[in-house]
Symmetry: none
Subunit: 219 residues, 4 copies
DNA sequence: AATGAATGAGTTTTCATTCAT
DNA sequence: GATGAATGAAAACTCATTCAT
């Protein structure tokens, strides 16, 4: 956790530091991300960073947490308990994909967190996040089964696992690909791809839901 | 690419070097994997490594390529052009999952390769691999549509993307999770989890295919 | 020397600062003792410390001086010009040992001051303290010789040197050792070793004096 | 322990490194001693030091051990089981003092090792050395009592403690003092004080032994 | 072809001291 | 007089790569 000192900083400075740090962690795996780099780009003294955070990992976990919180907040707006299963999934998928496109850095940070192989703490963080998502999905699925919206001959945990695979970065990557853009290019300048409107996202999501709903097989 | 010198090495030595390197890259992300570690464990001089490979990346890409080749070879055995779409996917999924469980190292190497954000060459390699898989799937899907096995109102590229998400490590991870085993533990001693038989894999794969085939919705 | 500002402080605050600083210097050698640590534990701002003392060394020398003054004051109570030589030494030795046990922190500070090799100022301070003690002993010895209490065929300076070696922490360390206690443990919680009574100290001191008086040789 | 690499070094280089390191540890307390300083003065690359030693402590403990071994070897030459107690002590004291004067650095290193307050490992090393010496003295004393050379009404452990206090640096310091030389000056150029001959040492030692033997009291 | 010592730029981290508010 | 954020030089340590033997 950041020290109180960090929270006393003028907002403008605090934001600048976080942005630079996010960019660094989005464009480098944890072990290659360089604090020296960050402080130079943020225009602060090396020692200052250590008045704000205990160490590199402390900064990193805070950034990771921020990213997760922001995504959760964003998605909560879209989620409505009253929705039936497929509507709920549709909204979540759309929201998640839009989030990945609107905040490509945050998405990359989470994706890069896999770099933590061999770093106990980071691996734990990642596992915890996965477990939270999985439980959320599992509950949705069980509820859908009880309400008769879903088939009952499936293992909810297995289905949750499939959904987790699907709802990650996958769809965002696909959309970029359809425009012939690499994630690297997009990260450098996300603003210029104006075709990536919410409507565009919606169209693709609808197609995915159609498939989830009734499968791939010809009738 | 390795130098001719490397291929002139006695097979026993060549194998030892590759095995140690594979293990290192399976248990550490690229930036943390240590050449010093590898040479010590392989019992060769540090300078020798540079007579065999240009540099760390050269070694890594070769290892990555080997891993990919081995997986492709393994899966080709299972693939039969005559199969209908769902049988083919079932076989591929089962084979891929079994491969991940039988050669957890190779699987981890490929999975870890994702962490290479910011390393130009590695990112390119990953993209190339993805593109190959995607094209393969896309062709399968188009064929299935032509043969009337699949619905025709879907974008083949989008479906290919979904399949790519599904066919990764996901199912292997799920199976380990059902046994309460972490990938870390499994890597350290894969032999002792005897419940992970081909039959066990087959049962889960069948369930996934059932869902792919006819969707989640209650009839 | 502390600034006038320091002496204007409310007594309670001044004492707190000194106590924390004493503890820090008693438990760490000079170069490892941390000002940051001290200000946090004393609950004052870092800048304030620099309104009270010029720098780290200034604080340290003041603390060292305080410790020395306290020990001198304590020992002066015990010293009586009228005593014969051996009685005087016995009293000094007993008082010094009791002081080390009653104020283990102050003793440690002085002992740690030896570690300052390479720090000009501190080394000088140590030398000055040694010189003062040596002169005091030398005078005692010369007086004892004149009064016919001591043998006359000895170099008073050499005897003073031997006494200086003996009267340090040595006896206190020996007493702790007989109880199986390390100085570290004792520093953490001096109160609980109740066997270390003045009588206990007296018994050991008497033995030492006996040896000093008539040597080690069997008669 | 140094790595094999270190022992493969040309003797000339190995010696240079050790000498520079000894000087650094003799003139600075452990925490102020600087590896960067050492490598610059020894004319080697920083990384090389880490090919020879695991880390700073590894280098330090090796140096400390060397110093101890050298002193032990030196003193063993002087020790003869057949000597009576006082002769043995006389020889040990003379040898120890000569050693301190001939190798002032090694003596300082051991003395500085007290800086280890708060460094578990170093403190342990120091304790172990003290314990070894104390046991050696204790046995000498018990033997002297059995042989009737020493008074029997003394606690051998207490006498050992007194001897330990006496046999340290004390006498060497005294000799330097008689010449008006500070240890600092002597360290910088030990060669020029030619008055410090073995005979000079012997004379002082004899006086100390006389005191130890029959005490301070006038007959 | 094999060796393994040498390199040095780079990393994270510490902390006494300064100074604007 | 008090505050505490800012500083930056210096520390210990790492490791891919080079090169003389």
């Amino acid at each position: 956790m950041p020290t109180p000192t960090f929270f006393n900083l003028p907002e403008e400075k605090r934001k600048r530091i976080l942005e630079v740090a996010m960019d660094e962690f989005a464009t480098h795996p944890y072990s290659k991300a360089s604090l020296s780099n960050i402080v130079v780009r943020a225009g602060i003294a090396k020692g200052s960073m250590y008045q704000y955070f205990d160490n590199k990992q402390d900064l990193y976990t805070y950034i990771l947490d921020l990213a997760a919180q922001e995504k959760i907040t964003y998605m909560k707006q879209e989620f409505d308990r009253e929705d039936d299963f497929f509507t709920a999934v549709e909204r979540l998928l759309a929201a998640g994909t839009r989030f990945s496109l609107e905040h490509p850095q945050l998405g990359r940070i989470v994706a890069n967190s896999l770099d933590s192989t061999g770093e106990e703490l980071l691996h734990d963080l990642y596992s915890k996040g996965r477990e939270m998502s999985m439980e959320f999905f599992e509950n949705m699925i069980k509820l859908g089964m009880e309400k008769g919206e879903l088939r009952q001959d499936m293992d909810p945990r297995l289905v949750a696992n499939l959904m987790y695979s699907l709802l990650g970065q996958g769809l965002a990557d696909y959309l970029l690909e359809t425009l012939g853009v690499t994630m690297r290019e997009y990260l450098a300048n996300p603003g210029i791809w104006k075709e990536l409107t919410p409507e565009h996202v919606e169209r693709v999501v609808t197609e995915v839901i159609k498939i989830l709903r009734s499968g791939l097989q010809a009738q």
